[in-house]
């Protein structure tokens, strides 16, 4: 492997890994919020 290729590959891999973890975290929060809002919209307050 030529000099520098490893660094570039590592930098891109880390970037995409961090992005993926962050997006999964956002998706989990979004699912949770969606469920809570649906429940609240269905239940009428007294």
């Amino acid at each position: 492997m030529e000099a520098g290729l490893g660094y570039l590959a590592t930098a891109y891999s880390v970037f995409f890994a961090v992005l993926f973890v962050y997006v999964m975290h956002l998706r989990a929060r979004d699912v949770e919020m969606s469920q809570q809002l649906d429940e609240l919209l269905e239940t009428k307050p007294e």
Partner: protein, 221 residues
């Protein structure tokens, strides 16, 4: 559906990384730095697609006044700015060793920078305007006019004289490089699609929250 889309995106991104750094040969003249090309161009195409969706969302909103179209415009504009930023950062990193400078005011770079700032302005209209129909309408008009810049970016190489250009009019790629380019396109398209769906879902939840607040206010004594 979300899970399948997420897994496909992950596999495509891993495949693209493998193709870019292992499968694709090193370009003879530019060397290692040419590998930025695969992500740089894929991000640029995703940005163009985003701006097209801003246009579609804006036209849809002005025709129907449905919030769904407005949310599409907003989500696409955010992603367009994000992917354009990726292009505007990766481009100079590639340019420095090849052109000797990070930036030159040549047609492609100039039109790309103008387009980027117009869409940042679109997001500023959304942020600073009062929430409601008036801001949505104004943003839709900006979203339609902003799209006028996109063909200028795409065809900037043909529209201005050749002696002003630094970007090549066309590139002949080795078959392995061409395959890598398409794998990167697919990875970025899937990533773009996932991010767009996620952002639309978040904006949909924000709309539900507003609806809930109105519902509770009506009920409250």
């Amino acid at each position: 559906m979300w899970r399948v889309h997420g897994v496909l995106t992950l596999l495509a991104v891993v495949g693209a990384l493998w193709a870019v750094f292992v499968y694709a040969p090193t370009e003879r003249q530019m060397g290692l730095v040419q590998r930025i090309f695969y992500f740089h161009v894929s991000a640029a195409i995703s940005a163009g697609l985003s701006y097209f969706l801003v246009f579609v969302g804006s036209v849809g909103y002005l025709r129907t006044r449905h919030d769904r179209w407005d949310r599409l415009g907003l989500a696409a504009a955010e992603l367009g700015v994000l992917f354009s930023l990726f292009v505007l950062i990766s481009g100079p990193l590639w340019a420095r060793p090849i052109w000797g400078v990070f930036w030159r005011w040549e047609p492609r770079l100039t039109t790309m920078m103008i387009t980027f700032t117009i869409y940042v302005a679109y997001l500023m209209v959304r942020s600073y305007g009062e929430p409601g129909e008036r801001t949505q309408r104004f943003a839709a008009v900006v979203g339609i006019f902003a799209f006028v810049m996109v063909p200028f970016v795409r065809y900037s190489i043909n529209l201005w004289a050749a002696d002003q250009q630094l970007h090549p009019p066309s590139v002949d790629l080795d078959p392995a490089m061409a395959t890598t380019k398409y794998v990167s396109y697919i990875a970025f398209a899937l990533l773009f699609g996932y991010l767009l769906r996620l952002r639309l879902s978040q904006l949909g939840n924000a709309a539900k929250l507003v609806q809930l607040i109105h519902q509770r206010r009506r009920i409250a004594p």
